[in-house]
Structures are given as C-alpha cells and as structure tokens.
C-alpha cells in the first residue's frame, strides 16, 4: 500500500509525533505491514523537480495512489483563493492540490485535528480562513464536500488529535492495508472508533479524586482538574490514559487538564483553557451522558463523604497522606 503525505497548514507536529512510534520503530512497523511512502515531505529523499513530476503523475493517474494523508488544515484565504498556502515550486495552492489528488486516492486520511476539522490554525478570528479536509469545525463539508467519498467508498478518515498519537496513525494505516477498516468502524465525526470510543477520563490516575470531587485549585496540585482547571477528560474522546504517550505519559498524568484536542473546535472553548466556566458556582459542561440533576446529587454526596486522605492529597503536589494499611492478624 503506498502513501502520499502532504503537509498543509499545520505545525508538522503529527509527523514529529509519528516518529515517536515504538516497538518497533515507525519505519520497521510500516515496512512490516507492507506500507511505503511514495513521498513524505519530512522523510523522503526527493526534492523539488522530482517531487513535482511525481505529483503530476499521481494527478494524471499514471501512478496509482492508495492513501493520501493530509496533515495540517487547508487554508482558503485570502478571499477563497488558498494563496495563503501555495505548495512551493508548483504555483498552485494546497487547497487546489488536495482537492485534485483526493479524487485519485483509494483512501484519504486527515492526520491530526487541523486536517480533520481546522484545528488550532482556525483559532481566534481564523486569520487564514482555515478549514479541515472534509469538515469545517463541527460542520460536515470542508475543502472537500460532505458527500465526498474516496475510491474505496469511505469518507475522509479523521485521525484527530493535537498532535495525534503515533499509534492512532500507524494502526489506521495498518487496518486500511489489511482491508479491515469500514465505514462502521468510524464514529459520527469520522474518527476511528478504536481510539474514539474511549474517553480520556478512562484510566486517568486522578479518578479517585474525581469520584469524590476532590479538586485541584491550581496547576501542580494532584486533585481532579474538572471543577476548577478546565479539564474536559470526561467528555473528550481518546485512549490517552489507557495506552499512554511517549512511554507512560498523558496530559492529565503530567498535571495538565485535558483540552479535548481530538474534537472539532477545541481551539475555541469559550473560556480560558485552564479555567472551568461556572454558573452559580457549578461547572458548566458536565459529563454529556448523565442527567445533570443526578450528577449534582452524586457530587454533593461524594464531596461530603470525601476521606481526609483524598481531600488533603488533592491540594498537594505529591502524596501527603498514604492509604491506610489494614492491620494484620495478630
């Protein structure tokens, strides 16, 4: 299976993340699965004229294309021309290239939240008029229309994340190579379910604090970050805390709130990223699949029942009170 990778208007971080794949390394892994790069802007030997020829060959169907991976959002500015990002050496906008090459690909994969939904490049007033390959934020329809299907019949596959996890990319590509990723394996925002059916909350080490609503009051404290520090791990999709990042890491394990980077429009949460918006002292944006009244009742009950150990550790930067050991039989 061949892959043509284009870096559109993004930071290149999803490629940098991809290089963090381990056991085996990314090159051994993809080679072992029969996946090869026709060209990748950060990794391939060919530069300049050789690349222009290759792109023309793909566009004219002379070279068949299995997977088009697009990393970074598609900028449409200024005034719909896409000239804020011309693919260098070609005199054509990336917008134009992506629209044309997508027609030739068996599968189209949007790598990262920028490519999927617009992402951070569309933050603030969206100065470059950035959109995703097939979405514009939550709206279905981006650089490619909502009804676009690649030659395989699938919509653009959104491997969202900022950055995306290396395994989310390699596993998506390997599933495609083995013919085992169908439309039913994508969620309603076209993300692969194998990681999008989990919540960041799952396996978060702060879960005991969450159970009692024992909250951190400022960054570096160990307590749950939902009540005060803007954490939305209970609503954000991703198996971040199950599989871990860069060895055993995750945002919440490192004391940083989940900002829902796998979702459309995470870049504009309508509040400071590390502050929880509240209404009458109650956090807005509670877990989405639980009746609010039940949540409030449970929260006040569990708060009242918080053991001293958990209450004190929540506002400390390390464990101050260890769990009690059951006395042995004498």
């Amino acid at each position: 299976m061949n892959v043509l990778w284009l870096q559109s208007a993004g930071c290149g971080g999803c490629t940098m993340s991809l290089l963090c794949a381990e056991a085996p390394n990314v090159f051994d892994l993809l080679e072992g699965a029969g996946i090869e790069f026709l060209w990748h802007p950060a990794l391939s030997e060919e530069t300049g004229a050789a690349v222009r020829r290759l792109l023309e060959q793909v566009e004219s169907s002379e070279v068949p294309l299995d997977v088009l991976c697009v990393e970074g959002s598609i900028v449409t500015g200024p005034r719909g021309t896409g000239r804020f990002h011309m693919l260098s050496g070609t005199g054509r906008s990336m917008l134009d290239w992506v629209r044309n090459l997508a027609q030739k690909a068996q599968h189209v994969v949007a790598v990262g939240t920028c490519a999927a939904y617009g992402g951070i490049t569309s933050a603030g007033g969206n100065p470059a008029s950035a959109i995703g390959v097939q979405y514009d934020g939550h709206h279905n329809g981006g650089a490619l229309p909502a009804d676009f299907r690649s030659r395989s019949g699938l919509p653009v596959i959104n491997v969202a994340g900022c950055p995306t996890h290396p395994d989310w990319v390699t596993e998506t590509l390997m599933l495609l190579a083995s013919g085992s990723l169908s439309a039913a394996d994508l969620d309603t925002l076209a993300r692969p379910k194998f990681y999008a059916e989990h919540l960041v909350h799952h396996a978060c080490p702060k879960n005991e604090f969450y159970e009692y609503k024992a909250s951190a009051t400022r960054l570096s404290e160990m307590g749950c970050m939902m009540e005060n520090l803007g954490c939305v791990g209970t609503q954000a999709v991703g198996d971040c805390n199950i599989r871990g990042w860069n060895g055993e890491g995750s945002c919440t394990r490192a004391g940083y709130p989940c900002i829902n980077c796998t979702a459309p429009e995470f870049e504009e949460p309508n509040h400071a990223f590390t502050e929880t918006p509240k209404f009458a002292g109650i956090p807005v944006g509670l877990p989405s699949d639980m009746p609010k009244a039940w949540f409030m009742a449970l929260a006040s009950l569990s708060k009242a029942a918080t053991p001293d150990r958990i209450a004190r550790n929540a506002v400390s930067d390390r464990i101050k009170v260890p769990p009690k050991q059951k006395a042995g039989k004498t």
């Binding site: 930071c11 030997e45 603030g124 570096s220 890491g249």
Partner: protein, 477 residues
C-alpha cells in the same frame, strides 16, 4: 555568460514549506530569494484572548520546537507578571527543553541533512557505500537507530510533561508535575541508555572526548561514528568552503536557571562579543507580504497583504538587529558561549561544516547538561510558584530553540492580549531582503553556490539550505 532562473520546491526535509528562487549565471548562484509560502496568522489569532491561553496556543505554532515556543510564552508571561519560576521548576523546564533541542539536532542530522549524501549523484565517491548504508532516507541503519533512540529519550518528556510535542507542562511559575525520587532515577536511566546510543553510533567514542575538542582541525579530523563519517564526507566535498553566512551571530542564551543562562547570551562579530540589546530589533516589511510600518516587536502588527504585491516575495518579515542581518542557531550559540572549537571554526566563517559541527558539539554538551540537571532534581522541593498576571503590562520572553534565538513579546490591556509578536530563529535566518536590499542570511549564504549544467535542484543549494536546519512553520507562524 549564460544565465537561467531556477525554482526549488517543494523543498523537503526541512520543517514546513520553503521555496527558493535562484538566479544562476555561469553555473553559479548570483542571487537567491527565500520564500516562506505559508501564512497562518498566530499573532492576530492571540488578540483579545486571556494571556494564559498563549501557553496552550503558541506551542502549536510548531511541532518540532513546541517546548521552545512553550518556554518563550511562559517567559514572556513571567516577565509581564514580574515573577520568577520556582528554582526546581526552572530546572525541570530546562531538562524538558534540553531534551527537545537534543532530539531536534538528532533528527536534523540523521533524517533531514545526511540523506543527501546517499544520493546517486555521489555514487563515485569513496565514502558513498557507507553513506548509503547509514543515511539513506527512511532505510539507513543510522536513521532507524536515531529514530528509536529519540523515541526512548522522549519518555522523559512523557513522564514529566505528559506528551511530546505540544507539551504544556511549562508555566510561568514552574512545571505542572513534581517529580518523585522514582521519576528521577528513571530519568537518569533513560539518559544513560541515550548516552550508550550516542557513544556507540553517533560519536563512536566517549562524548566527553568530543566536548573537549579544542580546535577546528580536531573537529574536522574526528574519525569515529557517524560524526566521523560526516567529517570524511565534509572534507571530500569541501563543506568548510560552502554557504557562508553574515558572520554575525546572535544568541539570547539558553536555559535560564537561578544562577544564570547555561549557554551565555550575546552578539558575536569579528571576535568581539557584545550584549544583546533587544531594543535594537526591528522587523522590516519591505519584501514581506505584510502591511504597516517597520517596528520593534512590542509595537509590531501582523496584517497580511492579501494582494501579495511586489516587490514582496515572502510572508516572512525581515528582523534586523541594529539594521543588520544576523545568523542564529547551534553554531552561533556555541560561538557566543565561547566554546574553543566553535570560536576556531568561526574564524573561517559559518560554513555548512561549521553549522553541522556546532550541532554535533551541542548534542554532546547537552547530554552532559541533562545528566547534571536530572541528578540535581530534589523531589521534596517546590516545582511551581504562584504567578499572577497584571491587568496592564508587557513582557518579553527570550529562549534558545534548537535553531536559535526565539522571542515572544506580549502586550496586556484590560486583562486581555492586546499585542503578541513572535520572532523565531528561522525568521532571522530565512528573512527576505530589507529596504536597503540586504539579503537574509540564507540568501547571502547561497550566493556563489555551484550549479551543474543539468541540475534542476542543485545539491550545493540543498546542503546550504539544510545546514541551517530551517523551521518554516515557526518562521511566519
């Protein structure tokens, strides 16, 4: 006299998008124009937001230097708040930042730069079989070892910062996670494993031996490991005569710790070191598709010219220090810091060889620093101090990314961001011409490069451009 124009792009194995236009006369480049063809608009994006959002948004300017951007944003906010990070927080921030810088140098050498020596054009050279084996893009044994070693080294960032890139642990007051004694010992063991890789593969000798090299000759005759293979290639291709920059080097000084910056700050020219005066920075817009006046970054604006009018040819502004183009990067940093081998190389000018040697030197020196810093972690210490931002104020954050001097300048009014300007290392190195017609450093370095009759994408040009390790996504942001 025969002349032709060449357009080089897509220019790969650099971070982000780059297009180089060349005027070639009698097989030599007589003028070069560097175009950064991507505009995203991070600076206007920040306006009106709460200042702390800069810590989440600006790292996402760049996927390869995100910790650098994060550290610069934290420093700018800290400056505005008039606060200092907890000393141990600064230490962990330095550790995180040092790992990113080291990884970037490793990625550059093995994945971005050395792959060109495996090209068929060099098939007749004595070293080519070895270059083919070690450096072939994606296939070479050095490439795969480097990627693996890098992924393991980044476990330290996973442990302390959650993930890489877009690590958000660094705050004005310190870092978000207090490491334990167990973390400290695990970090040291990861560093020991990385040292083993460096000594077995990259240097083929104890790293101290490389750090202690005192002269240009000692560096360029280094014979072991992939560093030795590079020096053999460099001697054969005379890379010490290729790609001279302006000879003026800028470093803000790397890794601010309570006792000072670990690599010292300064501006170096003709053997003279002077302090960095950031008041003397101006961003010239004469050849950038930007509207408005030349300004200091505290006053600067970012208003793209949607008509992309001539004579502009890039989205990149042209920063100048007291009117001068300056080169920044690992080599500049080591010259400014006064490493004897770097100073000796600088006497000859900032060539392709010097830039790569500066990076190798810094890989070795950074490994030693990381080991010292990890050893100095005190698990019972405070890692985060409170820091509160003013309703009105301004702040300057200066750090050293892998590719050189990175600055953030923030203006705060009524508790919101009223101005945010960023000058990244490659903004300096890959700037277009200014109103006086002075070319940017890479444009100057390309003048005189030899172009073969049948070359469409000249190899000499590729070596020179990649020797700067450009990060184009940071350049315009």
């Amino acid at each position: 006299m025969s002349g032709r124009n060449l357009l080089v792009g897509p220019f790969n194995r650099v971070e982000g998008d780059l297009e180089i236009r060349l005027e070639v006369v009698d097989n030599k480049v007589v003028a070069a124009y560097a175009n950064s063809p991507l505009y995203r608009g991070f600076e206007p994006m920040m306006l009106g937001k709460v200042p702390s959002d800069a810590l989440t948004i600006t790292p996402r300017i760049c996927g390869i230097c995100s910790i650098s951007q994060s550290a610069a944003a934290a420093a700018a906010l800290g400056d505005a708040a008039g606060s200092q990070p907890a000393p141990q927080g600064a230490l962990v921030a330095a550790l995180l930042h040092g790992i990113e810088n080291l990884c970037d140098h490793l990625t550059h050498f093995n994945l971005f730069f050395a792959a060109d020596f495996a090209r068929p054009a060099y098939a007749e050279r004595s070293w080519h079989p070895q270059a083919l084996k070690r450096f072939t893009a994606m296939q070479g044994s050095a490439v795969r070892q480097a990627v693996e070693a890098r992924a393991q080294l980044l476990h330290i960032v996973g442990l302390l910062g959650g993930k890489w890139p877009h690590t958000l642990a660094i705050q004005p007051g310190g870092v978000t996670r207090a490491p334990s004694a167990r973390d400290r010992i695990r970090i040291l063991s990861t560093l020991t494993a990385f040292r083993r890789y460096l000594e077995a593969e990259l240097f083929g000798a104890p790293i101290e031996a490389f750090v202690e090299l005192a002269g240009a000759d000692a560096i360029s005759t280094w014979s072991t490991g992939d560093a030795g293979l590079f020096m053999e290639i460099a001697a054969d291709l005379e890379l010490e005569k290729l790609g001279f920059g302006p000879g003026r080097y800028l470093s803000y000084g790397a890794y601010p710790l309570p006792e000072g910056r670990t690599f010292g700050p300064g501006v170096w020219e003709n053997g003279e070191l002077s302090p960095v005066t950031t008041e003397d920075i101006r961003e010239d817009l004469s050849h950038a598709w930007m509207l408005g006046d030349e300004n200091h970054p505290f006053k600067g604006q970012t208003i793209p010219d949607e008509d992309m009018k001539d004579p502009a040819y890039s989205w990149c502004k042209a920063p100048r220090l007291a009117g001068n183009a300056v080169e920044t990067g690992a080599f500049a940093r080591q010259v400014v810091d006064g490493h004897p081998a770097a100073l000796d190389l600088a006497a000859n000018g900032s060539s392709v060889l010097a830039r790569v040697a500066g990076r190798l030197l810094e890989i070795a020196r950074t490994q030693l620093l990381l080991e010292q810093w990890a050893s100095a972690i005190t698990p019972e210490a405070v890692f985060m101090e409170s820091s509160s931002l003013p309703e009105h104020g301004q702040g300057e954050g200066l750090v050293e990314a892998a590719r050189g001097a990175l600055g953030h300048w923030i203006q705060i009014e009524n508790g919101r961001i009223a101005g945010y300007q960023i000058i990244a290392p490659t903004t300096w190195n890959f700037s277009p011409r200014d109103r006086r017609g002075q070319p940017g450093p890479v444009e100057a370095a390309l003048e005189g490069a030899v172009v073969g009759d049948d070359e469409e994408t000249p190899l000499s040009v590729q070596h020179i451009v990649r020797s700067f390790d450009p990060c184009m996504v940071c350049t315009v942001h």
